[in-house]
Symmetry: C2
Subunit: 333 residues, 2 copies
């Protein structure tokens, strides 16, 4: 051994290089995540299912990851953004609908009494959605959504709604896709409300958006075929509806799932019940300063039963305040 120090140095260098490669890999992929349990659990899962020859290896075809949208990929306070869209539509359409002045829930809404509207429950909200989301061809509705997103601003941040997406989740979606996953949205929101913007926001193409739908009808209009949106509910993609829709639209059981509320519990259970390695994650809203803090008693995005089950079963719970370096891309670092 003429130069023992050289061997030592080489070994040390190799070790440092190996270490820095690992760290760089993770840091590059998920820069907005603090290095805690949540981040580590995601990375460990991806490594397990992509390790060739490993016992938990999953073929690319089966690497399906599903994400709730409201409260999981973008914010949902002080009300679901699609509801804000519907309310803006009611104001816009009111001059052509004089009967709304005397008809609930529109009358309260036009007086600015949102509490009275919400007191009408799901029925009132559905009436508002039907009145504002139907009666036009699909292409016209797409344009309406695009125009609204280009102009409407969030009441708290004064940002466009499409800027209210969670930067750490955008990175996570990208990281999964870089590892051969196909990322799907499975949301209670309307499919055609989401498709116009989710590709640019999240990199998720139209055919990977599963959500609630209203009925539509194919017909000829001036000799040209159109698909008209009807004021009738087709499917509500929430709670038990989520695994049902996953089965219908995707036809494969996901191996990874992320939600944030009790509305996601059943798709978490459905994912968990498959064989092999699984990832179940919840985003917990704990950051009243950068975002909002709410869980068990919130009327929007209630997280109660799903939190109990996550804790009992060891699912990953992301603590927004602790786990995320930043919430939105527009925050100052």
């Amino acid at each position: 051994m003429k130069h023992p120090s050289r061997y030592f140095l080489a070994a040390a260098l190799a070790w440092v290089l190996a270490l820095s490669t690992t760290v760089t890999h993770a840091a590059d992929a998920l820069p907005s995540w603090n290095d805690g349990k949540a981040k580590q659990s995601v990375i460990a899962f991806v490594k397990r299912v992509t390790a060739k020859g490993g016992k938990d290896f999953v073929s690319v075809a089966e690497r399906i990851a599903v994400f709730d949208n409201d409260g999981t990929l973008w914010a949902e306070q002080p009300m679901y953004f699609q509801l804000a869209f519907a309310l803006d539509r009611v104001e816009l359409l009111a001059p052509q609908r004089p009967e709304w002045k005397d008809k609930e829930p529109f009358a309260s809404l036009l007086k600015g009494d949102l509490k009275a509207v919400l007191a009408g429950g799901e029925k009132a909200l559905l009436e508002i959605v039907m009145a504002t989301h139907a009666g036009m061809a699909t292409e016209e509705f797409e344009k309406i959504v695009r125009d609204w997103l280009a102009t409407a601003k969030h009441p708290k941040t004064s940002r466009r709604y499409s800027e209210m997406i969670y930067q750490p989740m955008v990175e996570l979606l990208r990281y999964l896709r870089a590892n051969g996953f196909r990322t799907y949205i499975v949301s209670g929101g309307g499919v055609e409300f989401m498709r116009p913007w989710v590709e640019k926001a999240y990199g998720i193409p139209p055919e990977q958006v599963v959500g609630s739908t209203i009925k539509t009808k194919f017909e000829m209009r001036d000799g040209k075929p159109v698909i008209m949106r009807l004021p009738e509910v087709d499917f509500i993609d929430d709670k038990e509806g989520k695994p049902v829709a996953i089965n219908k639209f995707i036809g494969r059981r996901p191996i990874a799932v992320f939600g944030n509320s009790d509305g996601d519990l059943q798709m978490l259970q459905w994912t968990a019940a498959g064989s092999g390695a699984r990832f179940m994650g919840l985003v917990r809203h704990t950051d009243a300063e950068r975002e909002w803090a709410y869980d068990r008693t919130s009327s929007i995005g209630r997280l109660d039963k799903a939190l109990d089950e996550a804790q009992a079963k060891g699912w990953t719970v992301v603590d927004m305040k602790k786990d995320w370096k930043r919430v939105f891309a527009f925050e100052k670092p």
Copy 2:
């Protein structure tokens, strides 16, 4: 010019090589197609939409091709294969359902009187489907379909039903995918009847199968989540339903479509009405010897209005007898 003959030879060789390359390309991709108008129209379309910098270039993301299944990708005579499956199920289940002996359409069916069953129209067929396709978890139904396909034989050819797929169409699907297309099934058949076998048969994955559905329900069975199949129609993916389902499941307008009957007319119209290069194709059953010959008056796979419209609008009509060198892979060359 010292060696003019060399230049001539080189030029001739280049020309022959170029020619043979073109011919080889087409011949390799679609060997079971005779070199007629149908084959040429497909190849010309694919070249147009994939030519970089060309005025008809279509991005890979938008290269969506949809195919009907019954009569377009596999045979549908003497009755839809899913109906044959349902009838076999009725016989199998009859001992546990003594009441069927006195109840139509089951009574006629068990006596072997298929005509009486068919006289009951769509209502009778739906009753049979509901009685045989519902009441079990999705995974159990998948197994039932797989088992049936592994054993049942077609009454005319004595081949397995999964062998009754059209070899030229299998080549076409492969050719399109090799050119960046995603190939979807959009069929009146049941989604969960198709998913267990179409990937192996056609290379089409579960998430690219659109079809008719019955309602399903998420529930816990012995603490394990299952999706139960209910005896209730959810959606019939036929005629006007096809563009509606394309819009709902895919969210993009296809640029290529293949059908074989009036049930496909609306999705042909929907595809044709988009902007840019389009391909609309019909398979016409003209070969009574190798397959079946039927069109305007057939009760199964009637091709009447769609044929008129195809001829009026110059859509591609594949004449099975003239355009296909062979229909099924099992034919002797």
